[in-house]
């Protein structure tokens, strides 16, 4: 009913900066899509083109099967939540919520009812008469959400709505946003540079890099089969370890150290190997291992992050706090947990005979078309 189709959309700013490069995303009705990427990768630009606040240089944006390239933001049937909330400082919370409805000539009784409903949903009832400056950051954030939901739009657009909040509030607001979106079933496009926020909120993730899509997929698929070294190091915390290796048969040489895996025959001899910190574990006697020279340890409580070097290259392992650490530690990893990337393009390489991961990738690739 209100799907969003972004087709080959580019943005070229005056001065020739190409901030978004031919991006295509098909968002199903009711889906929660998160755009994630480092600062300056064009997330906000893409979102603002969907909102109509930025002109579309190339390509088309369709909302509910209508091409909206030349439609005013107010006519696009979308609502947006801004990073700095953008509440009208001179209006009470009630008026902030009601402003959009008033401008559309909604009858007074209906405005009252909708504002009351939104206020109840967001627990803003006792603040309706206050001005925004008399609210805490979290409450302002709720008002900004309220302003979006009273309009009952076809889509919500969020531009880093939680980045001005403290860590704890961010976690709870994250939950609220997710619940609210599920309850209302409104198609949502959410921009963040926080990979954790992206993982927890998204039905599907869109990882952007330099204005281009690196990968689209469900959070866990992106986590387990990152399409490139960029995605691998961006999604997941701590970032995936990436080590250059030489392959000889089924043996991987990391400088002077060696790991043996299986079914590597189809891979190039020079490649980048990805090892998630949480997949590494202490090697038992007799197991093959990499020796980590420990530099320093970060205690996180439930686990500890051990930073060190393997043959001079940095590597991080997430280990249980019970393990005693010396100067060095022998680590191992299940061969099936290794990721392989091309050293020059950074693209993911698959072991041809690794059927399970091949199938998983194919399913992931088909998914947008199915949904």
């Amino acid at each position: 009913m209100s799907a969003i189709n972004i087709t080959n959309v580019s943005k070229i700013y005056a001065g020739g900066v190409e901030a978004v490069k031919s991006v295509s995303i098909d968002i199903a009705d009711g889906e929660f899509i998160v755009l994630v990427g480092p600062s300056g990768c064009g997330k906000s630009t893409l979102l603002r083109m969907v909102a109509g606040l930025e002109t579309i240089s190339k390509g088309t944006v369709e909302i509910a099967d209508r091409i909206v390239n030349d439609v005013e933001p107010a006519e696009r049937d979308i609502a947006m939540v801004f990073q700095n909330y953008a509440l009208y400082p001179h209006m009470t919370v009630y008026d902030n919520l009601a402003y959009g409805l008033k401008n559309r000539g909604t009858p007074k009784a209906e405005i009252d009812a909708r504002v009351a409903e939104a206020a109840r949903m967001l627990q803003l009832e006792q603040y309706l008469d206050r001005k925004p400056r008399a609210l805490s950051g979290g409450q302002r954030q709720r008002v900004a959400m309220g302003r979006a939901i009273v309009r009952k739009p076809a889509a919500f657009l969020f531009d880093e709505p939680l980045s001005n909040l403290d860590a704890k509030l961010r976690v709870s607001m994250r939950g609220e946003i997710k619940q609210l979106q599920k309850r209302l079933g409104t198609t949502s496009l959410y921009v963040t540079h926080d990979q954790l926020e992206a993982m927890t909120l998204a039905d599907r993730l869109v990882v952007l890099n330099g204005g281009e899509i690196e990968q689209i997929g469900r959070p866990l698929d992106v986590y387990h089969t990152p399409a490139s070294t960029f995605v691998a190091s961006f999604i997941g915390s701590p970032a995936m370890n990436l080590l250059r290796a030489n392959r000889e048969g089924n043996r991987l040489h990391f400088g002077s150290q060696t790991l043996e895996a299986d079914r590597l025959a189809a891979l190039p001899t020079d490649l980048t190997v990805g090892l998630r910190a949480e997949d590494l574990r202490v090697a038992q006697a007799g197991e093959q291992s990499l020796t980590l020279k420990i530099d320093y340890v970060e205690e996180l409580g439930a686990q500890r992050l051990v930073h060190g070097t393997v043959d001079g290259k940095p590597l991080t392992a997430a280990l249980s706090p019970e393990i005693d650490l010396g100067e060095t530690i022998a680590l191992t990893i299940a061969p099936s947990r290794l990721h392989f990337f091309d050293t020059t393009t950074g693209k993911r390489l698959t072991r041809l005979t690794d059927t399970s991961s091949v199938i998983r990738e194919q399913v992931a690739a088909l998914e947008p078309a199915i949904s």
């Binding site: 933001p73 107010a74 979308i78 990073q83 953008a86 009208y88 209006m91 402003y99 959009g100 401008n103």
Partner: protein
């Protein structure tokens, strides 16, 4: 902070004395008779003619035609001051709104052109302005008095700077909320500019109230005379054995000062309230 307290107060008191002293002298002197003042000079003690002098100044029909009263002059001054302030605010807000929120070609160049030409003092363009007004038959009208001076570089500049400081997201939120240019101006910009408007109102009211040269040129009909001109008129009677009505001149001066003082006091409260409240 604590250490210099007494010294602070001394400085403040000196300031108060220097600023308020002349006013007290004017007020006290105005309650003496003209002859007394002529003989004894200024005075800091009250004389006995306070009520007479002020009643006379406000209601006496004077001037060459014998028709113009102090009250009338005060009215004229008020019309001029308020007309100025309101007109200038309206005009410069609209100009600044156009400059900041509408992308049109050469906006920056236009702005600086307006700005530099308007920076020229009134006196430089007073003759052409007068020519235009006579050609339009607007001498001896309030329109002629007010309109030619309405365009304000200062006002436009201040409002432009202020609008630029309003976050862009507010405009974007309003666009998504379906507010067009007019609704955005009335519903968001004007309420947000209240404090700015109060500040400009104070400045422009006082400026308009104190105008002397332009009203002198534009009006020959005495019923358009302002208080500032009235004071001058009283002192002009120095002919023959007449003593100028010093007391009346002082009384008029005091009266001429009251409305601006009141405006400043009223709007200042608003102004400060706005300043302290409007942090988002």
């Amino acid at each position: 902070m604590q250490r210099v307290k007494i010294f602070d107060h001394v400085i403040l008191l000196m300031g108060v004395f220097i600023m308020v002293g002349p006013l007290v002298v004017a007020l006290m002197t105005s309650s003496h008779e003209a002859a007394d003042i002529h003989r004894n000079g200024l005075s800091i003690l009250p004389g006995g003619h306070f009520v007479d002098t002020y009643t006379k100044v406000l209601t006496k029909e004077g001037g060459f035609t014998g028709k113009i009263t102090g009250l009338r002059m005060m009215m004229n001054s008020l019309i001029l001051g308020i007309g100025f302030a309101v007109g200038k605010i309206a005009l410069s807000m609209l100009a600044a709104y156009a400059l900041v929120y509408f992308r049109f070609r050469f906006a920056t160049i236009l702005f600086w052109m307006i700005f530099t030409t308007l920076l020229l003092p009134l006196e430089v363009r007073i003759l052409p302005s007068y020519e235009v007004m006579t050609a339009l038959n607007l001498t001896n009208t309030y329109t002629g008095l007010i309109v030619p001076l309405l365009a304000s570089a200062t006002g436009t500049f201040y409002f432009r700077q202020f609008f630029k400081s309003i976050p862009d997201e507010l405009l974007e939120a309003a666009r998504i909320d379906g507010a067009g240019p007019f609704k955005f101006f009335i519903g968001v910009i004007v309420p947000l500019s209240k404090t700015m408007m109060a500040a400009i109102f104070i400045i422009m009211f006082v400026y308009g109230w104190n105008q002397y040269l332009w009203p002198t040129l534009m009006t020959t009909d005495e019923s358009f005379f302002t208080l500032v001109r009235g004071i001058k008129q009283i002192l002009l009677v120095w002919v023959g054995s007449n003593i100028p009505d010093y007391n009346e001149a002082f009384a008029l001066a005091i009266l001429a000062m009251l409305p601006p003082v009141m405006i400043v006091m009223i709007f200042q409260r608003w102004f400060i309230k706005g300043l302290t409240e409007s942090d988002k």
